[in-house]
Amino acid sequence: MGSAQAPLTLYYWHDFQCPDCERFDTQTLPALVSEYVKTGKLRIVFKDLVIFGADSQTAAEVSRAVWAVAPSKYYDWQHTVYQRQGSERSGWASRANLLAITKSVPGIDVAKVSAHLDRNAASYRASADADHAEAQRFGIKGTPGFWIDGQAFSGAQPLSLFRQILNAHLARP
């Protein structure tokens, strides 16, 4: 998400069932997007770190199908999923429910998303597994996990911390 020419890239590992990710995604991320992404200063790369089991894996796969079908609508979709997040492992992140949520986001063809899921399930799973391995390699211990220019940290950190970090990096010559 954001310009490929942005001077900074924030890697963000998340699990759609993680309540801390929900807090970050609904309380902090919108401000980061408007202040840094839309102004061309920051690019955010979303990555999956499945820690809450099979439904989180399903959500990670659906997210890839949404990205394949409608990349410009991906952020709206992710934000909507977090707004409708249920309790961990309660079954809310089933394929059927995630597709129903997808239907409520304008501009995404649910039939295409479903077809992509059927066709590419194995490669989506492998891709999510690769994200998981990458998180371990970069020292991400939990979700939400972040990596920016050599520094890794985790948790639903406050907007003020992101501002301090990003401004410090942007101020470098």
Binding site: Q27, Q151, A152, P158, A168
Partner: protein, 198 residues
């Protein structure tokens, strides 16, 4: 209970101990907030690419994670624990300083004092020190490594620290001498003047 409040009054009427309690509480709270990201904190402090104001800005703003990265319950438990640890540290410092001064005047060595406090020479003092530090240690470590963010053990930690506070307060109010046991009924002591009563 009156001994507890008397000890609290005795310690906290000195401003230095109130400052110590607040500092210890703030230190514990900061540590608890930073605990999940200690390597990030360390890398920020040692980063050569950040200026000092930038480093301070990052470190200070990270403390706001108390609002965003804690649930209402875990936030309440952590703040309560920090305050109790502050009180505990102040009471224990008061007790150790008082005891140290008195026993040094009596010629006891520092090593003897520490050994006594650890329970080799004095069981009650030993339990005081060990219980106090087990409370703080349990809080610091279990909160980090156990599932459910250690909230169950947060309550356990509060219980340990509270117990430590109560025991320390009692010790502060007790005289530094062994208490006399009430006289037992039975044979009376032998009078040197009269010899054996038999």
């Amino acid at each position: 209970m009156s001994a507890f409040f008397a000890a609290m009054q005795k310690v906290f009427r000195r401003p230095w101990y109130a400052v110590l309690a607040l500092s210890a509480a703030a230190g514990f709270l900061t540590f608890a907030i930073w605990l999940p990201n200690l390597s990030f904190i360390a890398s920020t402090i040692t980063a050569s690419t950040f200026s000092l104001p930038q480093k301070l800005g990052i470190l200070v703003s990270s403390l706001a994670a108390l609002n965003t990265n804690f649930t209402p319950l875990s936030r309440t438990v952590t703040v309560a624990l920090a305050l109790l640890i502050g009180v505990d540290v102040a009471l224990l410092t008061f007790y150790l300083r008082t005891r140290f001064r008195l026993e040094r005047s009596a010629g006891m060595s520092i090593g003897g004092l520490i050994a006594g406090l650890l329970g080799i020479g004095c069981a009650s003092c030993g339990s005081l020190v060990v219980a106090t530090f087990v409370g703080a240690g349990a809080t610091a470590s279990f909160l980090n490594i156990l599932p459910l963010q250690g909230q169950e053990f947060g309550f356990l930690g509060i219980a340990f620290v509270l117990a430590g506070i109560v025991v320390t307060a009692r010790k502060i109010e007790q005289p530094l001498a062994c208490g006399l046991r009430p006289p037992r009924r039975g044979p009376r002591p032998v009078s040197r003047a009269s010899g054996n009563p038999d």
